[in-house]
Assembly symmetry: C2
Homo-oligomer: 405 residues x 2
């Protein structure tokens, strides 16, 4: 970087929708993604929903020539689905698993099983230290009645805190991923405000792609059309965010998205559109101060708004903890009663099979309910703890914001 | 710090053994701890096993005058048990929950329910930024056949990585806690080697307390004497570790431990002895380089040793995953068979109650085993993922160590 030349960095981000047995035409699409990455020759590739390690290994073999460095983040039952391919050596990695991530009993949603996380890889290019974060937050299944909003807000807060605490020695911070939040949502405002990250779509000097930068669009053949009815253009939930920390300036020269099926192909890469940014990084004379991304009074409002939502989630979790505890207690009483009745019936002859059978069934039912309710109670106790902890942290943050001169 | 004067910092660390309903004379001891902390007037107090938030709140009220700043870290079902009291403002906090922490079905050990974590608080004293970490690692229940060693090693590795990644902008790093490892154990060597942290006991110019700095000693009336039989002096598992990162030097002037019951009292503060360090922090001319704590070839040996142990844990976890999966499959077959038999019997009269009852019982048993085995299978799948991920990270670290000039 002598004489302050510019470093040009091409970053690719895509939620690949590569769930084994469930995602349509998965292997074909992973092959297409690999071909395109090989052809396009990006500097940095951030992928989500690569749930199968076999798919990652196939990509690694195919891309070994142009992206010699890569990392796959393991977590949860299925895996975090996060991986990074890079032209430049990866110096170090760290994984932070979000403390809340939906409910194990919501099998139809399944987010809990993925162990949603943020992965950090540290890369050095021409003496510039890049902290590159890749993440995937909890999905939004129903925007009108979003039961997962408090969990997603806890994740957005933990993501922001993790970035702030781990990026202090970095020159440039990059975050790519499926944040499952619209640009105006409180979680995005919180993340951007609290970290100072800039949105490549907003900052880009030149844009090419789906209207409004949407990454989940109705004319992609794999998207769920009913969920997009209120948004005829689609929604923007995949992002590339960035900021310079030390004496560098980052500018987004160009942002592109894919647009459904690629030319000459009948199948898109994924149900999401890819986001591709060309960034310019240049050294400037003086170090930038560590400021927030939003004016402080506005940021305080955002934190307050997020804290209120977390508080609502806390109340729901407390109610669920209470009712599961009560259910466990009732099941225990039922079990004791069934056991007592069986004890009395044991001495009687086999001529009255009905009560013995039904008390047996009752006892088994009670055991089942007891185990289930106890599990639920423990889970919701943890949920209450984490929501409470986050609310407390946000309260501390608000106090710090208010006390700043 | 003009003219490079010295900052003197008195740090207190104690595993309080304050488990509600289980720890003996808990409330009395928490009161005594509070009285002593009030009297002794430390700068920084790091506590573990404060499981009850009520105990924390009581301490907070009592210590509000001399330690106006405090933080309680919430996690897991019971809570992390970690809290910090400080004379100086706490600027920020972050919690990292370890990815592995024992097994939920080991109810008699219970570590899983505590959500063992490392808590970070950032404190600024006379313009010096302190990153203060407090933690408590998984207990060792049987030293000869320590089934939890791989989990504790994963925790030690995650602790080291978390400290390295979050402390880059700090001037001084302090770590206090119950690490549940002897000074020569591979986990401690890994933690110290990989972070460069120094052991206050080893470095102290003056020491006063239990012989060899032991913190779990046989003449404490609450300790389990049988576990300490091979160690007549006791063991040292509670530590204060430190290092300077930027242009500061940290020296340990004095280290003390409590010695069983305090003078004039019939009850010790806890089953552990407290560790109290007096540190001197002084600015020096030039910034210290970020070096490892151990010479690199030795460090590579330590990482290799740790990686081998994690690999052993991985094999065990893979076997457990396999056998729980097989058990789930057998239970499913049994359930199908019982259901089929019940289907045949349904049309028959009630004169043959025996088979119906026993097939009902069989079906319920099969459901129970199926649920249990599936749960275990999911848990061990996560365990395999995390052990595998850690092994991979250690492999990367080894490569980086070997590639250094």
């Amino acid at each position: 970087m002598e004489g302050n030349p510019t470093l040009r960095l091409r970053v690719f981000d895509l939620n690949c929708w590569a769930i084994r047995y469930l995602s349509k035409r998965r292997q074909e699409r992973v092959r297409l993604i690999g071909d395109m990455l090989h052809r396009e020759d990006f500097d940095l590739v951030l992928l989500q929903e690569v749930w199968s390690e076999q798919d990652y290994n196939d990509l690694k073999v195919k891309l070994g020539g142009c992206y010699p460095f890569s990392h796959y983040f393991r977590s949860g039952v299925i895996g975090s689905g996060l991986c990074v391919f890079s032209k430049f050596p990866i110096l170090d990695t760290l994984l932070y698993q979000y403390s809340l991530n939906g409910y194990p009993y919501m099998l139809q949603h399944g987010d809990w099983f993925c162990g949603k996380s943020v992965g950090l890889v540290i890369i050095k290019i021409s003496e510039i230290i890049f902290n590159v974060y890749v993440t995937h937050l909890h999905a939004e299944y129903c925007r009108e009645k979003d039961a997962y909003l408090p969990h997603r807000l806890v994740q957005a807060w933990e993501l922001a805190q993790f970035i702030r605490h781990t990026s202090k020695a970095a020159d440039v911070v990059l975050l790519g991923g499926d944040l499952n939040m619209h640009p105006e949502d409180v979680g995005i405002r919180l993340l951007r405000g609290w970290t100072g990250l800039q949105d490549a779509f907003v900052e880009a000097a030149h844009f090419e792609g789906c209207e409004d930068g949407c990454t989940l669009v109705p004319n992609n053949c794999f998207t769920d059309k009913s969920g997009l009815l209120p948004f005829p253009l689609g929604i923007r939930i995949d992002y590339i965010l960035y900021k310079a920390i030390s004496s560098y300036v980052v500018k987004c020269e160009e942002l592109k998205t894919t647009k459904g099926a690629a030319p000459g192909m009948d199948v898109p890469f994924s149900d999401h559109e890819a986001v591709m940014a060309t960034l310019h990084i240049q050294r400037q004379g003086q170090a930038a101060g560590t400021t927030f991304g939003t004016a402080e009074p506005t940021l305080a409002d955002v934190v307050t708004e997020a804290r209120t939502e977390v508080g609502v989630g806390l109340q729901v979790a407390q109610r669920q903890r209470y009712s599961s505890g009560r259910m466990a207690l009732l099941a225990l009483l039922l079990l004791l009663q069934a056991a007592a009745a069986l004890g009395v019936l044991v001495g009687m002859d086999a001529g009255h099979p009905f009560p013995k059978l039904s008390f047996c069934l009752l006892a088994f039912l009670a055991i089942g309910v007891l185990l289930l309710a106890t599990g639920l109670h423990l889970f919701h106790t943890m949920e209450v703890k984490m929501l409470h902890g986050t609310e407390e942290q946000m309260r501390m943050a608000l106090r710090a914001l208010q006390e700043r001169p």
